[in-house]
């Protein structure tokens, strides 16, 4: 589904990604973990075709991803870490806009379902500028879930969400995985990673230090504990490189 090969990215003098490599298959929830500034968001942005890599390649569904690859973008649902939504549009108009761009029909039943799950019924016809941060996040998630893309790239998806929406999010992600979709999550929440992930990649200082299932990570690192926290701390504190 996704193959990332020797991905490098530099911002000015700072090398943000230093030869990142990983592979993600269908029916997987792949979680990118790492401290702030490790390169998670940059990786996700390159996967989403928002940034161009300096070198290295990204293959999605066997096709090379680039900023100009609009065909591939139709298969992706991307949620940025700092989302911008047009403040003067209403929630419904935003959804309609997204659907007209993706050339998809909006299914009324599904639309109503997500509205009620995210409790946006009363707000959907109001301008987005009146929304709280959490409501904006729900609207964006809704616009992605409604489309049912093949690949979900979600950067810090739980920011601002209320407990009910978090619970729904977790259930829905599991459902998507079972349906054969691929999900890449970027998060700092270890419990979320633990609950949802099929594979975890720990990025540190622009490199993927290690990736695999939680069980594989703990065995490989000799962490005799059930906690992902112990694995994460061992990798990031001891700076284990490859």
């Amino acid at each position: 589904m996704i193959k990332v090969v020797d991905l490098c990215k530099r911002f000015g003098n700072k090398e943000v990604l230093k030869k990142i490599n990983f592979e993600v298959n269908s029916c997987e929830v792949f979680v990118l973990l790492g401290p702030n500034g490790a390169g998670k968001t940059t990786t996700i942005k390159i996967l989403a075709g928002i940034l161009e890599a300096d070198s290295g390649e990204v293959y999605i569904l066997g096709e090379k991803m680039s900023v100009l690859n609009t065909k591939l973008k139709k298969h992706i649902g991307y949620l940025p870490d700092e989302p911008y939504i047009y403040p003067k549009l209403t929630g419904k108009e935003f959804i309609e806009f997204v659907f007209s761009i993706y050339e998809k029909e909006l299914e009324n039943e599904k639309y109503k379902f997500f509205l009620s799950q995210f409790e946006l019924e009363d707000a959907i016809n109001l301008p987005i500028e009146t929304y709280s941060k959490g409501m904006k996040q729900k609207l964006l998630l809704m616009s992605i879930f409604l489309r049912e893309p093949d690949l979900y790239l979600l950067d810090e998806p739980l920011v601002g969400l209320d407990p009910k929406s978090i619970s729904f999010f977790k259930k829905y992600i599991t459902e998507l995985k079972n349906k054969g979709k691929t999900i890449i999550l970027c998060t700092h929440l270890l419990d979320l990673a633990e609950q949802l992930s099929t594979k975890i990649a720990i990025i540190y200082d622009g490199r993927v230090i290690i990736y695999g299932s939680k069980q594989y990570l703990s065995e490989y690192l000799n962490v005799f504990s059930d906690s992902l926290e112990d694995i994460y701390i061992k990798v990031t504190q001891n700076k284990i490189y490859e």
Binding site: F11, G12, N13, K45, A48, G49, I50, L51, E52, V67, L68, T70, K71, L72, K73, K74, I76, Y78, P80, P83, Y84, I85, Y86, K88, L89, T90, E93, F97, V98, S100, I101, Y102, E103, L126, P127
Partner: protein, 543 residues
Amino acid sequence: MNDFLAITNLNIKILLNSIKFATKTEKIRGVFINFIGIIFFISSYIISYEVVIYISTLPVIGSLFVIRILALGFLSSFVMLIFSSIIIPFSTMFESEDFHFLFSLPVKYESIYLNKIMLTILRASWMILVIIIPFTTAFAVVKNFNLLKCLILLLAVLLKILIATTIGIMISILLSYFFPSKKLKNFILVSLIIFLSVVYSVLRFSQPEKLLKPEYFPEVFNYLDFLSQPVAKAFPSWWVVEIFKGLINNDVYLVTINLLKLVISGVIIFILIFNVFRKIFYKCYFLISEKNKTKFYKDKIIKLKSAFFVIATKEIKTLLREPIQWVQFVIVVALSLVYIFNISKLPLDVKYVKITVSFLNLSGIMFILTAIVLRFVFIQPSLEYKTYWLIKSFPLSVKKFFFIKFLVYLPIILLPGLILVITSSLVIGVDRVISFFSLGIILLSCFVLTIAGYSLGILFPKKDYKDIPQIETSFGGLMFVILSFCYIVLCLSSMAELIRKYILGVKILSIEIFFYFLVFFMINFIYAFTPLYYARKKFIEEF
């Protein structure tokens, strides 16, 4: 094409929703701003019409002069459009907030680019259109143009605008390509401001009014020759003038050839910007957005300092690190120099004229001070809006915070105020009484305008802005200018009778002096402390 229409449709929806979902306050603001706009539009037309009518009736030179004025108007608007189109792409294209979102969609890059170009052309040209349409219409009406001629002229003007804005955008893209830095916008703005200030001062000091007087030319023939010369012949602005001339004389050839020149240039430039520059922009957009070299300032040991010192240091550092703010001092200096120069050129031989000019001069200085307060003080609350939660979380009283702000900004207003009033008094050559009187009034107005400026800035903050001029031209900025105008008029009106008696040498009773000064101080008190009271209340309740 579908993508392009979808994005354009989105922009139209955004515009319509900003009207549909406007709050009551926003609606009042909108109506008020539109009202001011309409007044401006109509008055531009009336002034242009009167000027053209007057000039047309001048014997011999009338018709030449009309063409000359039209040519200068078109040329200056052409140059202004290029300048504004160099700056606008930074907010509509390079720093566009929705670019990342649009790139994440399966939308063709060409559609996004074309949409952004259209948006930039609109944003760069609407203000010029508001001025140029009534200006051109006045000329067309005076020359009795029929509908077809008006439409041809409108088409020519629109083509000129399209060419100018497209050239500006191309320059902006080229500059960004060769100097990919987020600071490029600031650099261009600073350079343009300095350049325009210098050009303005040089033009004024060269006394262009002499060119309007035939006696400055050795022969009348030279003067007529000067008037009939083309203004910047190679520029599209002159082609529009030629079309105008052709329409007056029913010269179809002249109209067609110049219209063709405009159309062909427009098509070539549009092909260039859509094909060649689209590729350059693609490269430089990523170059700019990825260049985030951070300048590290010296790491100093943190020492405990007083609140005043800490806030004042922060204000000064912020000011110095934002070139768009400090470069405006250059404009202030240029304006002040030209202002003093204008006064020095006035024929001031008689005492009463000197006193009258000196008194009226106070309004001029107070207007300059209003402009300075608008540029340096009024904008501060908007710049700091998102950090007020931090200030409010500090163990610092609102009163103290406001007082510190006032102390920091007062010198910026006081210095030019004092320099202007002292220099102009010396240039005019008024007596000591009027000199001290002027000094006192300006001194007090510096205090009042600073307090009012900061308070109104808090009352009408521009929360979402892309650059500082947007704060200055916001509804609040307009309110501050209008209120300050009323304040200046009221202040000077309250003192006018005293000055009249002083000029006439009539004895002034102490009770009269007390009364007029009481009114004067009350006006000052009201303008300073009413906004301050409400600003403090808003600061406590809202931010």
